[in-house]
């Protein structure tokens, strides 16, 4: 099947001699940044998972005393925050970084240094918000931090300060990255790659960037208000001043609902790459897949208040938001059916990636259907803030986003490291994970509908919830070994995995036409794209015969006369370095790191204000500001590439 003989793996030779750490701190290579994202977010995933294990341990039996109420409240807040902002979003970002330029035939992202900045500020923000859990002073207001509980009056300690500032910092990272990737996808596609030829992962990432661009400013403002309330005594959420707590809720969920699609769409994109490749068939209904992604994203801005059916918005608002929410089932259903019919009539190869992708379809449907049951407000009033909701969102988040990301990791690992991951271990990981996740999250439906509220650190015996909680805890503790198998496989395969060629899965898209791992410049000659599955056009023309091909790619491209580093679609075998080929590469720089550090220091200064410690507060704020402004100027006045 993998027809291409193992090509010599590319090894960068002429990189200047720097220490490993220094080369990371200064890198502007989207692939290195992608792997940095990958490792960091896997670390945070395990951390969030450990927090979940403590939660489950406490809930295993009624009236148990493993954790105190305060500890528990910090744990579930940090579990939610970590998983959403520090695990899944950056795991997606890892793929944006690694894959988007490769899939569209670009040498890098539009703004390589901004890209490095996004990573560093994510890392520093992640550390900032995570550190306090080790001292039990972590945020404890829930991942959506409802006011007025999150305000200074009811949360006087530093806990929520970390949350407000931490999310603000992480928001900068996401926004910076989204402008970068949106621009990259609009403007850096190889000649001939029009929108209808973009790989589906790139498509879904494209939609995701716009969701970020439009939703993050809203939470930024919501957080600015909270930050001002907490540090400067403004009245936005101050009940005694007549404030309306629903302001926070609306602003949060205007961000929060698009956020859940930010979490799922990249995973949908990954699955849309894995399924056709392993079925040896083109994606069924490609245009509709793209449009449905756009539609999901767009509708996602009109449903936010379905998280607020219990707040008493009135029947009209309930009706409107209930119905718009239900509508989302239609484009999502289209995706589900198109995936299934991609496999229908195919020749399915069950790689580990494929298993995870298929499981995503199976599991996401469960979460989607329970989602529809909360879209009906009178019914949701019996469900909201119970474990039934917890079941819903873990089916879509774990059964959707995480399974999709696992599929993506197994599938793209060979591209990143030139070796495949061990399939036997992958199969073990898959089955254990699959069984354990259902054991963990399915019983939560019952606990919820039988009256168990969420976010409770303890519950009384005899309420009919013991069995379900015991099952969930067993499941969670099975997820740990499953995850450990994966981690072991991941790190072992980097060194000892089966070496593979550029295209071990016989996949159809551009990223597979270059060596694994790709050289620093990605493409020695930028390919000219004439169809949606350019590689299959070369190797299996019969598979794409039915897909419309036009020659516009050619014509557009041939107009670019003189662009001598372009060539017709081909398989890259080049192993020389960028320097040898005369390809200008962005030079590495430490400046983005220091800009990020300056911003984080500036925010940290605020932490000292409520304690009245003005000196360290202002020192940090001014020092941090000076640092980031200075380095930003230096960055903007240095050209991207050094020599010409």
């Amino acid at each position: 099947m993998a027809t291409v003989a193992a090509s010599p793996t590319y090894t960068a030779s002429a990189t200047p001699q720097r220490s490993r750490l220094m080369s990371w701190l200064t890198t502007t290579d989207h692939k290195v940044i992608g792997t940095l994202y990958l490792h960091t977010s896997l670390f945070f995933f395990v951390l969030g998972g450990l927090e979940a294990l403590l939660i489950r341990w406490q809930l295993m039996r009624p009236n148990s005393v493993v954790l105190t109420a305060d500890q528990y409240n910090q744990l579930f807040t940090m579990h939610g925050t970590t998983m959403v902002f520090l695990a899944i979003m950056p795991l997606s970002a890892a793929f944006f970084n690694y894959l988007i330029p490769l899939q569209i035939g670009a040498r890098d992202v539009a703004f390589p240094r901004l890209n490095a900045f996004s990573y560093w500020i994510f890392l520093l923000g992640g550390v900032f918000i995570t550190l306090p859990i080790f001292f039990w002073v972590a945020p404890d207001g829930g991942w959506f931090g409802y006011a007025p509980l999150s305000g200074r009056t009811y949360s006087p300690g530093p806990n929520m300060d970390f949350w407000v500032l931490g999310l603000q910092i992480l928001g900068i990272s996401s926004l910076a990255a989204s402008f970068n990737f949106a621009t990259t996808i609009i403007n850096m596609r190889a000649p001939g790659m029009n929108l209808m030829r973009m790989p589906m992962f790139t498509w879904m990432s494209f939609v995701t960037q716009f969701l970020i661009i439009l939703s993050f400013p809203v939470i930024t403002i919501a957080l600015v208000f909270l930050q001002f309330d907490r540090f400067f005594g403004t009245t936005f959420y101050q009940i005694s001043a007549g404030a309306d707590p629903l302001l926070w809720q609306h602003l949060f969920w205007i961000f929060g609902h698009p956020e859940v699609y930010i979490l799922i769409l990249p995973a949908f994109g990954l699955v849309s790459e894995v399924l056709p490749t392993n079925s040896r068939k083109p994606l069924f209904g490609y245009p509709v897949m793209a449009y449905s992604g756009i539609l999901i994203g767009f509708l996602g801005f009109g449903v936010w208040a379905h998280h607020m059916f219990a707040v008493g918005m009135g029947p009209i608002a309930d009706t409107v938001f209930g119905l718009t929410t239900m509508l989302i089932a239609i484009p999502t259903g289209v995706k589900i059916f198109n995936w299934i019919f991609t496999m229908w009539g195919g020749s399915i190869r069950f790689t580990a990636a494929m298993k995870f992708a298929i499981a995503l379809i199976a599991m996401f449907v469960i979460g989607g259907i329970s989602g529809i049951t909360h879209a009906s407000p009178p019914s949701d009033l019996q469900q909201t803030d119970t474990y039934y909701i917890v079941a819903h969102f873990h089916y879509v988040l774990f059964g959707g986003a995480i399974l999709g990301i696992f599929a993506g990791i197994y599938h793209y690992f060979p591209k990143m490291y030139g070796r495949t991951m061990n399939e036997t271990l992958g199969t073990w990981h898959f089955w254990l994970n699959f069984i354990a996740m259902n054991l963990t999250f399915f019983p939560m439906h019952f606990a919820g509908m039988l009256g168990m509220p969420r976010r409770i650190y303890t519950y009384d015996a005899g309420q009919g919830w013991e069995l379900f909680n015991m099952m969930s805890t067993m499941g969670a503790f099975l997820l740990a070994p499953a995850t450990l198998i994966f981690i072991y496989n991941f790190f072992r395969s980097k060194k000892h995995g089966e070496p593979c060629g550029p295209n071990p899965w016989d996949a159809p898209t551009l990223e597979w036409s270059i060596p694994s791992p790709p050289p620093e410049y990605n493409f020695a000659k930028i390919p000219m794209v004439t169809s949606r599955y350019p590689l299959w056009d070369l190797t299996h023309p019969e598979r794409t015969a039915e897909i419309p091909h036009t020659q516009t790619g050619w014509t557009e491209a041939t107009q670019q006369t003189g662009e001598h580093d372009m060539a017709p679609m081909h398989i890259e075998t080049e192993t020389r370095t960028a320097k040898e080929l005369g390809i200008p590469m962005p030079s590495s720089t430490i400046k983005p790191f220091f800009v990020a550090l300056g911003i984080v220091l500036m925010f940290s200064g605020l932490l000292f204000l409520p304690k009245g410690m003005k000196v360290p507060a202002f020192a940090l704020m001014f020092g941090g500001t000076a640092m980031w402004v200075g380095y930003l100027y230096a960055w903007l006045t240095t050209p991207l590439e050094d020599h010409h």
Binding site: F210, L246, I254, F301, G302, M313, P315, A317
Partner: protein, 109 residues
Amino acid sequence: MSQDNAHAEHYHPTWKEYKWVALILFLITVVEVWVYYIPELVASKAFVPGLLIMSAVKFAIVVMYYMHLKYDHKLFRSLFVGPLLVAILTLLGLLFLFSKIAIRLSGGG
């Protein structure tokens, strides 16, 4: 170079247009402030819609001429108009949700 091309293709307004735009902006602003000082007008039903329309016109001409969206690549138009629409709809949605209509209809009491 490609983007010089793109630039060259596009008509750029000059002082002639700019001064008219500035004049219109100035006049609309004068009218806006002027009506604010006429109590009968302020009391009339047309006051708020009138002001909104006037400022929308100002908004539009600045965007079209000064930000040369009218002449620029159509990509920019979608990059701006799309988010602007989402923003306006969100704003209207919020105003409705916090308005007396929404609350009065909530019944229950």
